[in-house]
Symmetry: C2
Subunit: 300 residues, 2 copies
Amino acid sequence: MLKVPAHQVAGHQAGDGKLGPLVDDSGLFYKPLQSGERGSAEVTFYKSFSSNTRIPENIRRFFPVFHGTRVLEASDGSGLCPHLVLQDIVSGHLNPSVMDIKMGANTWPPQSPEDYIAKCLKKDRETTSIQLGFRISGFQIYGSKESEFWKPDKQFFKSLSAQDVRLVLYKYVSSNASPDLDLNPNCAFASVVYGGSTGILAQLQELKAWFEDQTIYHFYSCSVLMVYGQEGSGAEVKLVDFAHVVDGEGVIDHNFLGGLCSLIKFISDILTTPPDEYSTKACLQDSQNNQSFCDNGIHE
Amino acid sequence: MLKVPAHQVAGHQAGDGKLGPLVDDSGLFYKPLQSGERGSAEVTFYKSFSSNTRIPENIRRFFPVFHGTRVLEASDGSGLCPHLVLQDIVSGHLNPSVMDIKMGANTWPPQSPEDYIAKCLKKDRETTSIQLGFRISGFQIYGSKESEFWKPDKQFFKSLSAQDVRLVLYKYVSSNASPDLDLNPNCAFASVVYGGSTGILAQLQELKAWFEDQTIYHFYSCSVLMVYGQEGSGAEVKLVDFAHVVDGEGVIDHNFLGGLCSLIKFISDILTTPPDEYSTKACLQDSQNNQSFCDNGIHE
């Protein structure tokens, strides 16, 4: 009855005797508790969040529904292991295109051990986290019946530049998405998936309004998951991965919020810049920047 | 004709044979160019900004007017030295209360040398920068004709906690401001200085709207300066210190923006929480947080 999820794009994956999440046919997602404090921290977060009366109803829908914990046979055959029982976010979508975006310039909670901070900071600097306030940590994009999904391996995500991130966000809403970097994305689904009153941009803006005010949680190393399917029903934004959530102590999560504003700007740009103008504009912007700032000597 | 500024609250200060800025009676502020790349970077920024046609008019007023550079006798007697000639921001105010807030969780530009990053990161973690997205790096608050200004020394700012920052932002708009931590701030000027359609909060929100969109500059280690005087004319917000501004390269300055949103939340809280409820509410919030999150085990 339990099986390896077909559409997981980031994180530890089950299969080949490895430990990872499992799904069933009823729309549930079973995530093995991470070892040490991380597993218990994530359970604590879900329990806190699901019982917290200060969370507005319109914000709850951005989080997977929590159904408690359950002890199951682990996917790596290592025996019984406690799992979080969560809503399977992608199960309602046909041929889902999924993008996992790890939020925040800094992915380490301030009170972490020094070696953990050093490890995270290195990765935040090597990827786009410091530069963009987020990094793409995985995706699959449905191309066509023939090509099926474009789902790069982990190595791909280690070397993405800011310009690559922009291109990937164009391709995510294109019907001709493929690893071919010379093929211009057609953005066939941009207005339906990113745009409109219920699209991804509107959802991110709703989340942003909450983050400008909420001081309950700080979501380090948490991801925004974007999902849409070929069935044509609505695109969804969900937050996932709460092993590094800490108490907000009366202060907003400026680290998550800054990254969210940056992501919103990328997606707004795509909606206002048609794909055929994309390459040209990128060049123009570069030359404008050069003219207005660099030519004055700062990069000389 | 040139003299040491009476109301400088942060940065290198002239006097006692030290190098620092000078002012004259005509409302100009002469800032000696910092050594090495910093000095030229700041000149480059001012030249770029003042000639950049993409800066909206309503945003220009948040920056000191730039009057070029001039070679002057340095305040430390070391001889002739190039100075930036800028608008003297505080000169229009009687008994000015001034607050210098260094913005951003990370004060280091991503391309900085390793030793510089390590030095900045250490300070960002030791102060409130990482936690709040900003740190208070200096202030003077006018108390009364008798007490004159409360202007703590540099040591004071090295050990401020998040709760201290909140208290200082209350005291900044109080007519009974003093170093006595047991004296509750009366917030006599909160609605005039922070509130209203032209107050500090409204100005910060205007800046925020620009930062959500602008991708020209990234303002590392830049300060928001808040100034108001006893003459009762308007409070002002200015950005100062541009030695670490770098090219935005088409991406928003999420690091500055996150800190700005955090500062906005602090000031909004002060406007919605009268000072007599302040202490009580702080305790209540703590206990609510404990109930909703910590009691579930995350801090056990």
